[in-house]
């Protein structure tokens, strides 16, 4: 492993070219420039993904790269990791101009990247994943058929994890780890390769609030040890928590580099979106009416056959948004699956909609009871990715007389008209009814689902993590839609892992822990701290909650 930094190289750095307002203010760090990307342009076909972008990162600095989905952040970082090569522009690492032809070159220069979708082999152990590609071999035989030295591999992993405070058992299989732990393995993988520059692509997208706090600590620790860290993100709060500097990119263009401690979330949002963004959507007081959804003593088993939902009671009324908050893996997914007919309800429990029992009905019957769902995983359960926008729009209603004839022939004209109406009403981009859902950004994919589900005119809208992975502009849109439903007198059941979201949007907040409601508050009569404690099992006498699913 490379331990020594190249100390003489920073002297020939041209500081004037730095777009940063100044060197890192952390006085214990040297202000050596580790990464400099100059006037980078990357063109795919006739699409300009990056247009003359420059970015400078210093040793020991945490630098956030902020932009909406599709702004070109990931492209820029893939250039730095050698996955793509720039059309124009130059990259300097530790002051030296480099050609990053492939990831191996980048790894050799001490650059490591943690991808948003983890690059881990699920059936391999932690140690196997970390050493893969640079395996220690018995007797240092350097040949393909040389036996692996797993003992040495495990030792190396233990050494690095101790050095950087990333606790992990090297012998555990990846598939048995939580998402947060898997991310740790990814970071260790880079450190094992001697990375001095770490790129984290949307590192918090899949983490629970606790895991995010943990990650922030890890990042602080790594930067204190002199690593340069680049975080690709669109979450403003985390930039404020973790980053020293923030470079904003919009539609492939460089916008600005900000010193994070001296700007607000609102500033960042404005730079990112290019207009004023409302981080907290305003809303009138709720005028809640009769109960729409009623859940009594619900018990649901998870895939392992254990009771994930255990005696759950809840009412959601018309004209209100009820937010269900809890750490991931406390039965939320099973609960929603049980309500929507995807999972069996154990005997004794009941689910009513408008007074009618829908317990253990099929998803189709549940849908016909005027329940619409924005599912947890839009790509898996919300859309057929290889269907066009219009086909996705009629997934539940293709059999309606307006869309198909008596003998089952689809009426393409009315389907297209319907889709086009929704596309313009919900501003789905690209505005092409034949575009494949797969090729749309996350925000636009979510818009397809919202458009479809709201158009069913449901009495109850179930929204499960509806803003997961979306940028602020899209989040604002989703929140507005939920509040609009509520204002139209509908019941909205919002299941979320984001405390901020629930506090901002919901009228009443229910906290779920180990498959049960531990408390219900009016949103204006509680705060982050009170709910945070309850989410972790405090107050119900339970132990610490695991984020494991």
């Amino acid at each position: 492993m490379k331990e020594k930094e190249n100390k003489d190289q920073h002297q020939n750095q041209n500081k004037n070219s730095s777009p940063n307002p100044g060197p890192n203010q952390n006085s214990t760090q040297k202000s050596q420039v580790t990464v400099e990307m100059k006037n980078i342009t990357k063109v795919f076909g006739n699409f300009v993904a990056n247009d003359n972008i420059s970015i400078t990162v210093h040793k020991g600095e945490v630098h956030a790269l902020l932009g909406e989905n599709g702004a070109g952040k990931s492209t820029l970082m893939n250039l730095l990791y050698g996955i793509y090569q720039p059309t124009h522009g130059e990259i300097f690492i530790n002051g030296q101009r480099v050609d990053l032809d492939n990831p191996s070159v980048a790894i050799g220069l001490g650059i490591g990247m943690v991808h948003q979708h983890f690059m881990l082999v699920p059936i391999f152990t932690v140690a196997e994943n970390i050493v893969l590609g640079q395996e220690p071999l018995l007797h240092n035989l350097n040949m393909s058929l040389a036996p692996l030295d797993m003992k040495k591999a495990i030792e190396s992993v233990e050494d690095i994890s101790k050095k950087f405070g990333l606790t992990i058992n090297p012998l555990t299989k990846i598939q048995d780890l939580t998402v947060g732990q898997q991310q740790r393995v990814e970071i260790l993988k880079m450190l094992y390769r001697g990375a001095e520059i770490l790129i984290l692509d949307e590192p918090t997208a899949v983490l629970t609030p606790q895991e995010i706090t943990e990650l922030a600590k890890i990042i602080k620790n790594l930067s204190a040890q002199g690593k340069s860290i680049i975080i690709i993100t669109h979450k403003l709060k985390e930039i404020k928590e973790m980053a020293d500097y923030c470079t904003v990119i919009r539609r492939g263009k460089y916008i600005d580099t900000l010193h994070v401690p001296s700007c607000t979330e609102q500033d960042l949002a404005q730079k990112m979106v290019g207009r004023d963004v409302i981080l907290k959507v305003p809303k009138k007081d709720a005028t809640s009416g009769r109960p729409i959804l009623k859940i009594e003593n619900l018990k649901v088993k998870d895939n392992r056959g254990l009771l994930a939902v255990n005696g759950f009671n809840l009412e959601v009324c018309s004209g209100e948004i009820l937010g269900l908050i809890g750490v991931d893996g406390n039965g939320q997914s099973e609960l929603v699956e049980a309500i929507t007919g995807l999972r069996k309800v154990e005997s004794g429990g009941q689910v009513y909609i408008n007074g009618a029992p829908i317990t253990n009905k099929t998803p189709r019957e549940v849908f016909l009871h005027k329940i619409a769902t924005i599912p947890e995983d839009r790509q898996k359960h919300g859309l057929v990715l290889d269907f066009s926008i219009e086909e996705n729009m009629i997934l539940q209603t293709h059999g309606d007389p307006s869309f198909s004839s008596k003998i089952g022939m689809l009426n393409h004209k009315s389907i297209t008209d319907f889709a086009n109406k929704l596309i313009s009403k919900f501003d789905i981009r690209p505005a092409n009814h034949l575009a494949l859902a797969r090729n749309l950004s996350g925000g636009n994919q979510q818009k397809i689902i919202i458009a479809r589900e709201i158009t069913h005119n449901p009495d109850l809208l179930i929204a499960v993590q509806p803003t997961r992975g979306l940028d602020v502009g899209a989040i604002e849109y989703v929140h507005r839609s939920l509040i609009e439903q509520r204002d139209n007198g509908k019941a909205v059941f919002l299941v979320s892992l984001e405390l901020d979201e629930v506090l901002n949007v919901a009228d009443r907040i229910a906290v779920i822990y180990h498959g049960q409601i531990v408390a219900i508050f009016k949103a204006d009569q509680t705060d982050e701290n009170q709910i945070g404690v309850l989410m972790g099992g405090g107050g119900s006498g339970g132990g610490a909650s695991g984020g494991k699913r």
């Binding site: 191996s104 881990l120 893969l132």
Partner: protein, 310 residues
């Protein structure tokens, strides 16, 4: 009674061997993420080349190597199509299954005066039996263990492949490529190279498997010699959960069914069932086993999915 059991066990070993070679090769290929449904065709060409080279050279070892190499050439086509050109691996494999027998019969007519059956190899030029005479003739152990060298070779090979897959750098990378090729690629491992190696190995072993049929179980090539063994080996891979030792056990089971059929077919045993019905047993067993083991939870995650770099 004892000698009956010994005879069945001995026949089991003999009939399992071609399956074991082929299935071990298939395990390698599938572990790296490439479905090799062309095993049948590769076995056929192996059987033909083995019988022909064995007949003309008189040396069974050269014949085995030639058979492996010939099947490797077919495997190369499969590799180029399914790895390089990201073709559907099942379709490419099916093409091999037509090509293998086609080429074999075509060449057979050229070499053996227009017949589709090669001439028999004299007994002393077949694969030797290293333990011949070690046990008393027709004793219990003699009936079981006095086998052709290919039988022992198959089990040695199982151990070697187990070691390579689970204990060496190549094995770790092969599995990584079959489970998560993108991850392997992001760490600088050449997915293409590893898959080529795996598919070529698989072809070589299928060729050996076919030749071990022609050079030990029987002593010539004929069009019906390889009739489904490649597919049975494929089933054995699945039944054996994509593990060399598991696939070997599964092959022994299928070989056992075959041996049982042969035993029952012996008029002296006195079972009065039509031989055609008996011959169906191994195939029916294959279907039953595959039905009982639904789901591909143990399959390499990326098997059958072509890998394309951006």
């Amino acid at each position: 009674m004892f000698s009956d059991i010994a005879l069945i066990l001995g026949t089991t070993l003999m009939y399992s061997t071609p399956l074991i070679f082929t299935a071990l090769g298939g395990v390698i290929s599938e572990k790296s993420g490439v479905v090799n449904i062309g095993l049948e065709g590769m076995m056929t060409i192996g059987a033909f080349i083995g019988a022909t080279v064995g007949y003309f050279t008189g040396n069974p070892w050269i014949a085995l190597l030639a058979a492996g190499s010939a099947a490797m050439v077919l495997a190369l086509f499969h590799a180029i199509a399914s790895i390089h050109f990201a073709a559907d691996q099942v379709i490419s494999g099916m093409a091999i299954n037509f090509l293998g027998p086609g080429i074999s019969i075509f060449l057979c007519r050229i070499f053996f005066d227009g017949t589709t059956m090669s001439l028999s190899i004299p007994l002393d030029q077949k694969i030797p039996r290293p333990l011949n005479g070690f046990f008393a003739q027709n004793s219990f152990f003699d009936l079981i263990f006095n086998q052709y060298a290919t039988v022992y070779l198959a089990f040695v090979l199982m151990a070697i492949i187990w070691f390579v897959l689970y204990k060496t750098r190549l094995g770790l990378r092969m599995q990584a490529v079959g489970e998560h090729p993108k991850a392997a690629d992001s760490l600088g491992i050449s997915v293409y190279k590893i898959r080529y190696i795996a598919v070529l190995c698989s072809g070589f072993l299928a060729g050996i498997g076919g030749a071990s049929m022609a050079l030990s179980v029987v002593s010539n090539f004929r069009p019906t010699l390889i009739s489904g063994q490649g597919f049975i080996a494929l089933a054995a891979i699945i039944f054996g959960k994509w593990k060399p030792q598991g696939a070997t056990l599964a092959c022994l089971l299928f070989g056992g069914a075959q041996a049982f059929v042969i035993f029952l077919g012996n008029p002296q045993v006195g079972v009065n069932i039509s031989s055609q019905l008996l011959a169906m047993i191994p195939y029916i067993l294959t279907i039953l086993i595959l039905m009982g083991f639904v789901g591909r939870t143990n399959a390499p995650a990326a098997v059958g999915v072509p890998f394309e770099k951006h």
